[in-house]
């Protein structure tokens, strides 16, 4: 009985130790695996870290390189030159605008066109003697003597036919009173009995000026002033103004149109901005101011 118990106890011990030794083997194999994983991770981590460090160093090197390039004398000089160029161009643009504006004022001043006098001379009826004339500010006043009261009318008809005058008015055709002149009969007979005064209005024209400005609190001229004289009643068409490329290559888009101090209404402006056109009838001097803003897709340097 006692032996049997000892046998059973020794079997139990053996089982225990065998279980123990089997578990210990599993643990050591796990430990090895964990160790391998750990070492692998260590290597991977170190490699990643090294890559990051190297990349960082490379980027820092690039930064230093770019910084050095930006701070070298050539760039500083170029930047200074750019600033100077920009200032010069602004100043020159203003000057160009000034001069074209001033020249337009000169061009638009009323002046004598001797062709009108040539036309008058060519169309003078044979019995007419011009005694006085005055040509200024787009009108010619003619005073003269003639043999018949029809002569000034013939004269006017011929001037009308020349199409050079918009209108020729008769101020007066008067039979001259010779009673108080103490003329001899022969002298009185030779004298032209009628005097007349005519006023010829010349073809009227008005200046149409077009300017382009940067749309800002203080508009800066973008181009020279465009000026032309157009006959009354003629039409001036605004077209192709939706964008503008300045001389330095900067692109601008139309933001507003001001005609004789009044902004164009939104519908008409929108049409112009989309490449449409707008007709203006010339009945007086017309001053057109186009305002532009720098395009988002500007090709030039902002």
């Amino acid at each position: 009985m006692l032996n049997t118990k000892k046998m059973e106890l020794s079997k139990k011990d053996m089982n225990f130790f065998s279980e123990f030794s089997s578990s210990s083997g599993q643990v050591s194999s796990y430990m090895s695996l964990i160790l391998i994983v750990f070492i692998s991770l260590l290597i991977l981590g170190s490699a990643l870290y090294l890559v990051l460090i190297l990349q960082s160093a490379a980027v820092r090197s690039d930064i230093n390189k770019v910084t050095n390039e930006m701070s070298n004398q050539n760039f500083t000089d170029a930047a200074a030159k750019y600033n100077q160029n920009t200032a010069d161009i602004n100043s020159l643009n203003q000057k160009y605008f000034d001069m074209t504006s001033l020249f337009a004022r000169v061009s638009n001043m009323s002046k004598v066109d001797s062709q009108y006098m040539d036309t008058i001379q060519k169309n003078l009826p044979v019995d007419v003697v011009i005694t006085d004339f005055k040509y200024e500010k787009g009108a010619i006043e003619i005073k003269g003597l003639c043999d018949s009261s029809y002569s000034p009318l013939d004269f006017i008809e011929r001037l009308d036919s020349s199409k050079m005058f918009t209108n020729v008015d008769i101020s007066d055709i008067t039979k001259i009173d010779i009673t108080g002149m103490d003329l001899l009969p022969a002298e009185a007979a030779a004298m032209k009995p009628y005097s007349f005064t005519l006023v010829g209005s010349l073809e009227s024209s008005y200046p149409v000026t077009l300017t382009r400005f940067v749309d800002a609190a203080q508009p800066v001229p973008l181009s020279a002033l465009d000026s032309q004289n157009l006959a009354v009643g003629s039409s001036y068409t605004l077209t192709g103004i939706s964008s503008y490329t300045a001389s330095d290559g900067s692109a601008y888009t139309l933001s507003n149109v001001i005609i004789n101090q009044i902004s164009l209404d939104a519908t008409k402006l929108a049409a112009l901005q989309q490449g449409g056109s707008y007709d203006i009838r010339v009945t007086s001097s017309i001053e057109i101011k186009l305002l532009y803003k720098l395009s988002a897709s500007n090709g030039g340097v902002q």
Partner: protein, 268 residues
């Protein structure tokens, strides 16, 4: 205390996680952040560099633009005279009338120059301006009968000659010289008076792109050098004898007035 195998594995696993987390948060992430920051800085720097490079490149375009603008301004500058010299303008225009046959100028006047300026957007006048003078001529024609000093003794000068002069003036420089008005006045004595108002324009530009050419027409004085020696005051022997008045108060006189000193015809 003995740890079971599972417990051991769990502890090792936990340790591994802690180590990995420690590596991630303490080593990898800061390095990664640093790299990202550097990359961002580099990107910003490159953007700045590119825009700077664009600025450098644009200098070529800007130089060309500036040159073009200067050429355009220079072309504008020469459209009008660079300065106004009333005496030169009056002398040249007088010569045009004289060449056409109208040698008798009865009145010539030239007012002070008028200045026109452009207002800048800030409300101040621009330094560049245009100036103009109006030269008014009144000229006498001739009757063709009365001796007028011509080779023929008397020649008729009238409308034809006047208009010849006007045509000539119109053609001199249509942009610079304008004939503002013309007129004719009958005398009823066989001759006429002719008047012409002529405007001459100049750019007044403090900083010119083109130098002033002093030999330019209507700038350069073209008459022969004058002989100097004029005097102040009309001497007695230049006063017509018939106009001398012995009764005129002479504060310097010490005795009765005599005209002995006058050469030529004596006074009354």
């Amino acid at each position: 205390m003995k740890l079971s195998g599972r417990e051991m594995i769990m502890i090792l696993g936990l340790l591994l996680i802690v180590l990995v987390a420690g590596y991630w948060f303490l080593i990898f992430s800061p390095a990664m952040n640093q790299l990202n920051t550097n990359n961002t800085n580099l990107k910003n720097l490159r953007t700045t560099y590119d825009s700077n490079q664009a600025i450098i490149n644009s200098n070529v375009v800007l130089d060309a633009t500036r040159t073009d603008l200067k050429k355009n301004i220079a072309a504008e500058e020469v459209r009008l005279l660079p300065e106004l010299k009333s005496e030169v303008i009056s002398a040249n225009l007088s010569k045009v009338f004289a060449d056409a046959g109208l040698t008798t100028i009865t009145e010539l006047s030239c007012a002070s120059p008028v200045l026109e300026q452009v207002m800048l957007p800030n409300g101040t006048p621009s330094e560049n301006s245009v100036q103009w003078v109006m030269v008014d001529f009144k000229l006498s024609g001739t009757d063709g009968s009365t001796p007028d000093g011509s080779a023929a003794g008397a020649t008729k000068v009238g409308y034809e000659q006047f208009m010849t002069a006007i045509h000539t003036i119109e053609a001199i420089s249509p942009e610079t010289i304008h004939v503002a008005s013309i007129s004719m006045e009958e005398t009823d004595q066989g001759f006429q008076y002719f008047s012409a108002s002529i405007q001459v324009f100049a750019f007044n530009v403090p900083v010119r792109e083109t130098p002033i050419d002093p030999s330019q027409s209507y700038i350069q004085w073209e008459r022969d050098p004058v002989t100097v020696g004029g005097i102040f005051g009309i001497p007695m022997n230049n006063v017509p004898a018939s106009k001398l008045d012995p009764g005129f108060f002479r504060p310097f006189a010490t005795g009765p007035v005599t005209f002995a000193a006058i050469s030529g015809p004596t006074g009354p």
